[in-house]
């Protein structure tokens, strides 16, 4: 036993060997907040492109122009786009049909994705705001964040408002409260207390220079115009005059111009073997072309680039597999989104917007030969996009439906596109002013001038009179593929109506459900919207 105690000391010595107990984890393969890569301010998220670089980049990743997020939930439930189940393809558990027929539920994956993407983007803006910004940058960031909250308010109604990184216990605001926040943030950025025809923006921290990838006074006013135009939906109180004044101010003072005759860019989709392909894209088509940067109509856009700034995937989402040979595409498309036949037919044949907005008819490859689809299911091998769609599900023909092509494609295009995506453009300002003025006056003909300005640009005949239905149709033709249609249908009271393969829906569908996954994650802070 004497020995035992000696040996116990040895054991204790071993146990006491705390000399090598350093457990610090020095991450060398990951970027964390503590790490400052040269030029990358991880804390503020700004990076080498300035403190707002990450904030504005977030627009690309917030579902703006790809499948599964904001764009999808704005477009598919509307009467302008549909994704049909093509045999085994694109059924996807019925969630696309649920969107089309307004039978979505709180566990709809895209509604959850949209929520997560949008709050993620808000988080990035909040990080920028927590860093050191000059007054102009601060105003831009607040305006951008207000834009995101407008999206959330429009989609989900009641959402929490978080304004600083890591804020805990944020309560779910009412839709009216979110409206108030969005309005006051935008007014704050503009340095005014209200929008009026006589407002003075000289005190605004926002600038007036035209850089559509940032937010200037006109971008902020454009967003405000959208917000006011829908104010009645959000709060029950119409704000038509402010909507009209904001749009009017942009039209009158912004220095922007509609892209009409003579406003053109080289046609990057031009096929050497197809004589009918124009050398240039002019007018309306130029506004959305792959090389549409610096278009005079752009007020606030998202800067996409096929190599450095991906995130716009219409080429994959919309085209048939074999359309790869029309544009010499780098990757095979997915054959998803199509246009509803009635919507396609609402355009006059001479309307330049029709040709600019859709891919339709028999398709030729880059050499001018007909593209053959050897897996064709309609008995005709030639790939031919028909405006008619035989059925929604289960066996929509693979080539049924005109394809959205307004954000047009280019030869040798990649899965990611380079077109800049329009959030605020002058054309919409004309529409907003026309509608707001008409509604304020109770007379749709008040908008004739503005609407006819746009129609003239598109070589469409001028209206001599207007009513609500015709205005809505005209707005649809102008704003196709710009993620506006769901909001417009709700404002016009048509969202619950019927269209192709879409029965009437309950008004509770006008607000999406709060995603159930988020209700769970919030630990009871979030409650569900009525009707779900």
């Amino acid at each position: 036993m004497k020995n035992l105690s000696k040996y116990l000391i040895v054991f204790i010595a071993i146990f006491g060997a705390y000399s090598c107990t350093d457990l610090e984890e020095n991450l060398i393969g990951d970027v964390t907040t503590e790490i400052n890569v040269d030029g990358i301010d991880t804390g503020g998220g700004g990076g080498s492109g300035g403190p707002l670089s990450a904030a504005f980049s977030s627009l690309r990743n917030a579902g703006t122009a790809n499948h599964g997020g904001y764009y999808s939930v704005q477009e598919i439930p509307s009467d302008e786009m549909v994704i049909c189940a093509k045999g085994g393809d694109w059924f996807d558990g019925g969630i696309l049909i649920d969107l089309h027929q307004h039978t979505y539920t709180p566990s709809h994956a895209m509604l959850n994705g949209t929520w997560v993407q949008t709050y993620g983007a808000i988080g990035t803006v909040n990080e920028a705001l927590a860093g050191s910004l000059d007054p102009n940058q601060n105003a831009q960031a607040r305006a951008l964040r207000a834009y995101y909250y407008w999206r959330l308010m429009d989609l989900y109604g009641r959402v929490p408002i978080t304004t600083t990184p890591g804020q805990t216990g944020v309560a779910q605001a009412t839709r009216a409260e979110v409206f108030e926040f969005v309005e006051s943030e935008l007014l704050g950025a503009l340095g005014i207390s209200e929008v009026s025809s006589s407002m003075d923006l000289s005190g605004s921290a926002l600038g007036t220079d035209n850089n559509p990838y940032l937010i200037n006074q006109f971008g902020a006013l454009g967003i405000l115009s959208k917000v006011y135009l829908n104010a009645e939906v959000y709060t029950g109180t119409a704000r038509w005059q402010e909507a009209a004044d904001a749009a009017s101010y942009v039209i009158d003072n912004g220095g922007y111009a509609l892209c009409g005759a003579g406003c053109s860019v080289p046609n990057l989709a031009k096929r050497a073997g197809v004589d009918t392909d124009p050398e240039m894209l002019e007018g309306y088509a130029a506004v959305f072309a792959p090389n549409n940067d610096n278009n005079p109509e752009h007020i606030f856009t998202v800067n996409y680039d096929e190599a450095s700034a991906g995130g716009m995937n219409f080429v994959q989402m919309n085209l048939h597999y074999s359309s790869q040979f029309t544009w010499n595409l780098d990757s095979q498309p997915w054959n998803g989104y199509a246009t509803l036949e009635d919507f396609y037919n609402s355009y006059d044949d001479g309307d330049a917007r029709k040709k600019a907005s859709f891919i339709q008819g028999e398709q030729l490859d880059f050499g001018g030969s007909a593209i053959l689809d050897y897996a064709s299911d309609d008995g005709n091998l030639v790939l031919n996009y028909t405006p008619e769609i035989n059925e929604l599900t289960p066996n929509s023909l693979r080539e049924a439906g005109a394809r959205p092509g307004k954000f047009s494609f280019q030869q040798f295009g990649r899965p990611d596109m380079s077109n800049d995506y329009t959030i605020v453009r002058l054309g919409e300002m004309y529409l907003n002013r026309a509608e707001a003025m008409s509604r304020a006056a109770g007379n749709w003909n008040m908008g004739l001038d503005d609407v006819n300005t746009l129609r003239a640009r598109a070589n469409a005949s001028a209206y001599t009179s207007l009513d609500a239905a015709e205005f809505l149709a005209e707005r649809g033709r102008e704003m196709f593929q710009e993620a506006s249609r769901r909001t417009d249908l709700i404002r016009f009271g048509e969202y619950n109506g019927t269209w192709w393969e879409k029965p009437a829906s309950d008004p509770s569908r006008n607000i999406f459900p709060i995603p159930s996954e988020q209700i769970t994650a919030s630990d009871g802070t979030l409650t569900q919207n009525p009707g779900y």
Partner: protein, 991 residues
């Protein structure tokens, strides 16, 4: 016990083959009796000491044996009796009495030492080389498949380059590594890749928490301790050669339509007739050669071996060449007080990983499509596709033969490890050990898709054709351990104390890049990537690299083993362990274990029993996911269009992240008579605070992901092993053994009440999650609508809740009114393994059956391709007996969930010892092994074995994501290799 019995049987088998033609021999005969009762002992093992020459006694206890001249002693052994050596002298008849009562002690390797089998108080199984599965083994885990109750080993399909999924008692954790800890010759965290099956002496499996707790955080999923063969000091050098040649062929392909049936069913006729599965598979030829030398001199012993495995898979251009060498050296110094063990091994493996996708596309490719473009019914530019035909314009469809023959996907792994153990006996009672080990593993992968390959080579596109992929990975593991063992006794009781310190450090880095757009197909441009046009165009080159921080585990451990009078055994251990992965305040964890065992037979003396042990053990272990930076905020670097760099949050920090803990209770009973051995284990394990990346409130965290301690799982199970010598006579023996296990895992607590997982994928079944995970319920439930019939091509589903409203949309899967049901579960109710070893007059036969029951599989091939979609008549249709005529819409339902119960003859070995004249060879054994010859199942897919982990969907030529979901068992994905059967001829020569 099992070991002993099987030893006897094997010895018998060996003896039956013993030569009687060798010259200069004489015959010794005799009788073996129980010295207490004077009853003859039947089947006692009689061996000429130091040789493999021997026999067993007959029913009267008699034996007769040819003894080579110069032999001095016989060794007599019998289950339950002390082994006895008897000098032969000049006797020709020996009457030998064996004394019972002294149980033969088998030494079982446990953590940081070994114990007598009787002293063990936890669920431990030990297998020796003779228990292993034979045949053309490609992965050491296959040696153990089905042999240990509670140890699940499945290599679905049987890709020669695939890695078996190993589970001890089901899943032990959700987010962490669920594979057991591998310990090879004392080196923890070793890799099974680096040991050749030929070199393994024994494997010890620590099943429960009380045994594994000494390994702390890494022992949660069980521990597999491998001991490699070593030499004997003072023995002549012996050479052993093992050779095998095997051929394998596909079994259970997937039943698809022939060209004729396909056209009749409305398929698009492209004019040819091809059986695509046939076109991409082959009879795979395998060679295995192993040579070892072992021996020793003075105080030194050694064993050195070299093994070559050249394996061809059944898929064209898949297989591997492996070369492995190992040296085990032991020497003693300082008056034998210092014992030094040195082990080193080197393995290099060149794999042709090949393309499993060829099998997938062979299933769905149009059977009337030609192989070559020149046979196309319409004008086709064959040259553009390397001469092959391609169905252009179709989603997810590639010529299988082109995939398998035009492209290249190779892996090259180099593993090197060494370990040295120094054990110094300070006194007879106190031993001090120092162990140093290092492993390094370098792996590189090369993929090349030429400009003419439509599959990933982009041949159909006018631009950017050809792609080369490069991947390099390097891992190192350093281990430093020191521990001391002190033995003491108090009267009839013994106490062993062990205490030590362990330092483990792992480092990992990898890099990958891909580049494409090559000039043409005249060269393999992956060797001249400066030719790639991607260099001229921004944004096409793919590149990524990772490096882990120093991933450290530091531990202090102690253990006491108490033996009271050989009757009561108590083991207790404690490990305090810290990890660099956890939140700063939660880095250290304490892992205690306790076990007690009583040999009741010492008190009860029940007649025929020579063992009746009851034991109970409890232990706590921990677990951590393998990723680093779990508790930290992680950001992604992104760009804006101007090229400027910025970062966004990818994962939120969780400074409170703490150890995941597994507590396990195990109650065991061991029973033995001379011929029967039985072990029953009942256990309950609770895994609390399991670590999982989960959805968190994006409003608060700016991102919806972070690691949390997310819930609790509990498993209850039962394992039974039986081993029985049915017949023991001098020329006929039959031994049979069964292992049985059953368990159930419940998700007790989870951060969300329920969710669905495991998306089926494209085409058309995205958003279709088929596995339900729900608090309070068993994991692995397959969830979906119930198929009842077909109307106008569409499936009709059951109104499960009978409310008159049919709710079957996938986004309503979690709604209260959904008409979904649990359609099956991914994990089996029970599994059995049944070993039969028969020897008769020099022949031996080993038949091993294996089965799993109660599990289902989602047959995804059928779910996508069995309905005869009118719009997709360019794919082939799956055509099993379950196909529903007139169904033209693909919707997931009970129709595609199949019971996958199976019972198979896994391995059939027939062997014979051949006597060769002359004394050049000690002995020669030849064997014939059939692997997987008979499979009984109703499952219509390629392989009914349970799918324990889900790897997610892949489509349209994309690669599988590096993703393993253990909460979603039960999916037979479209990316599995097809299973094979093989015939192997083997020869074992001892010089």
């Amino acid at each position: 016990m099992k070991k002993l019995l099987t030893t006897v049987v094997f010895a018998v088998v060996a003896l039956l083959f013993t030569s009687s033609e060798i010259y200069s021999q004489r015959t010794v005969s005799g009788t073996i009796i129980d010295s207490e009762t004077n009853e003859p002992l039947i089947g006692a093992n009689v061996l000429v000491k130091g040789t493999s020459t021997g026999t067993i006694t007959d029913i009267d206890g008699n034996f007769s044996l040819s003894v080579p001249s110069g032999s001095e002693e016989l060794e007599i052994s019998y289950a339950g009796f002390s082994t006895q050596s008897v000098a032969i002298g000049n006797e020709s008849f020996l009457n030998i009495g064996l004394s019972a009562g002294q149980l033969l002690d088998e030494i079982v390797v446990t953590g940081y030492g070994s114990q007598n089998e009787k002293e063990i108080t936890s669920a431990v199984a030990q297998l020796d080389a003779k228990d292993f599965n034979l045949g053309a083994i490609t992965d050491p885990a296959q040696l153990l498949q089905g042999k240990v109750a509670g140890l699940q080993i499945y290599n679905r399909g049987g890709d020669p380059n695939g890695v078996s999924t190993i589970r001890m008692r089901g899943i032990s954790t959700v987010g962490a590594n669920v594979e057991p800890l591998i310990v090879i010759d004392g080196i923890i965290g070793a890799s099974l890749n680096n040991v050749d099956p030929n070199d393994i002496e024994s494997v010890s499996i620590l099943k429960d928490g009380s045994a594994a707790a000494i390994y702390g955080s890494r022992g949660s999923s069980g521990v597999i301790i491998v001991t490699t063969k070593s030499g004997d000091a003072n023995k002549e050098t012996r050479l052993t050669y093992n050779g095998q040649i095997a051929t394998s062929s596909p079994v259970n392909g997937i039943s698809v339509m022939s060209a004729t049936d396909f056209v009749a069913a409305g398929g698009t006729d492209l004019g040819s007739q091809n059986d695509w599965l046939d076109e991409v598979t082959r009879a795979g030829l395998t060679h295995i050669h192993g040579l070892s030398a072992s021996g020793g001199f003075n105080n030194t012993s050694f064993r050195i071996s070299a093994n070559v495995r050249d394996v061809e898979g059944i898929l064209l251009n898949s297989g591997f060449d492996q070369f492995n060498t190992r040296l085990n050296l032991n020497t003693k110094a300082l008056n034998d007080k210092l014992s030094i063990d040195f082990n080193t091994s080197y393995t290099t493996r060149q794999s042709q990983i090949g393309f499993q996708e060829a099998l997938r596309y062979a299933v769905l490719y149009n059977p009337t499509a030609p192989i070559l473009g020149d046979d196309s019914p319409f004008p086709f530019n064959s040259a553009q596709f390397g001469g092959y035909f391609e169905t252009l314009g179709l989603f997810d469809s590639f010529n299988p033969v082109s995939i398998a023959t035009q492209n290249r996907f190779d892996g090259d792994r180099q593993e090197f490890n060494y370990g040295a153990n120094f054990a110094y006996s300070i006194t007879d009672a106190l031993t001090y050990n120092v162990r140093v080990a290092r492993q390094s593993n370098n792996y590189e992968e090369r993929a090349y898709y030429p400009t003419t390959s439509n599959f990933r080579g982009n041949a159909s596109s006018p631009t950017r054709k050809g792609l080369a992929g490069f991947y390099d990975e390097s891992k190192t593991f350093n281990l430093y351990e020191t521990f001391a063992t002190y033995l003491t006794s108090f009267g009839a009781s013994n106490l062993t104390l062990t205490g030590g310190y362990s330092y483990q450090q792992e480092n990992y880095d990898d890099n990958a890049f891909s580049i494409g757009d090559f000039p043409n197909n005249d060269l393999d441009f992956s060797n001249i990537i400066e030719s790639a046009q991607d260099l001229q165009n921004a944004g096409f080159i793919g590149a990524a690299s990772n490096a882990s921080p120093d991933d450290k585990i530091i531990a202090f451990f102690g253990r006491a083993n108490l033996n009271f009078d050989d009757k009561i055994f108590v083991n207790a251990s404690l490990r305090r362990e810290g990890s660099s992965k956890l939140g700063v305040d939660n880095q250290w964890g304490l892992f205690p274990a306790f076990g007690v065992g009583i040999d009741l037979n010492q008190y009860l003396n029940i007649g025929p029993l020579n063992k009746f042990k009851v034991r109970y053990g409890w232990g706590l272990t921990g677990a951590l996911p393998s990723l680093s930076g779990l508790s930290r905020e992680i950001r992604n670097i992104t760009n804006d269009a101007s090229g400027a760099v910025n970062t966004t949050l990818a994962r939120a920090a969780n400074p409170d992240l703490k150890w995941e803990e597994k507590g396990e209770h195990n109650l065991g009973f061991e029973l033995g008579t001379g011929r029967l051995g039985a072990t029953l284990d009942i256990y309950k394990r609770t895994i609390s605070d399991f670590i999982l990346e989960r959805t968190v409130d994006v409003v608060e965290f700016q991102v919806d992901r972070r690691y949390e301690n997310a819930g609790q799982l509990s498993t209850k199970g039962l394992e039974l092993s039986l081993d029985y010598d049915v017949i023991q006579s001098s020329d006929f023996t039959y031994n049979t053994g069964i292992v049985f296990n059953t368990f159930k895992t419940i998700l007790d607590e989870y951060v969300i009440e329920k969710e669905t997982r495991a998306n089926l994928g494209a085409p058309g079944q995205n958003g279709t999650n088929v596995i339900l995970v729900k608090e309070g319920e068993e994991i692995g439930q397959i969830w979906g609508p119930v198929y009842v019939g077909v109307t106008e091509g569409n499936p009709d589903f059951e109104d499960v809740n009978g409310d008159g409203v049919l709710v079957t949309g996938q986004d309503k899967a979690l709604e209260d009114d959904v008409d979904f049901k649990v359609l099956g579960k991914g994990t089996p109710d029970f599994e059995i393994g049944w070993t039969n070893q028969i020897s008769y007059k020099g022949w031996n036969l080993n038949a091993f059956f294996r089965g799993a029951f109660g599990h289902s599989l989602v047959n995804t091939f059928r779910a996508f391709y069995e309905p005869q979609l009118s719009t997709q008549s360019s794919y082939n249709y799956i055509n099993t007996e379950l196909a529903v005529e007139g169904l033209t819409t693909a919707r997931f339902s009970s129709l595609y969930v199949e019971k996958a119960d199976f019972f198979k003859l896994d391995n059939l070995t027939i062997g014979k010892n051949v006597d060769l004249p002359g004394d050049y060879f000690d002995n020669v054994t030849i064997s014939l092994v059939l692997t997987n010859p008979i499979v009984l199942t109703s499952y219509t897919g390629t392989d009914p074995e349970p799918s324990l982990v889900d790897r997610g969907p892949t489509d349209n030529g994309n690669s599988n994501a590096n993703y393993y979901d253990v909460l979603s068992p039960g999916l037979d994905r479209r990316n599995n290799y097809f299973s094979s059967r093989s015939i192997a001829f083997g020869i074992n020569l001892n010089f």
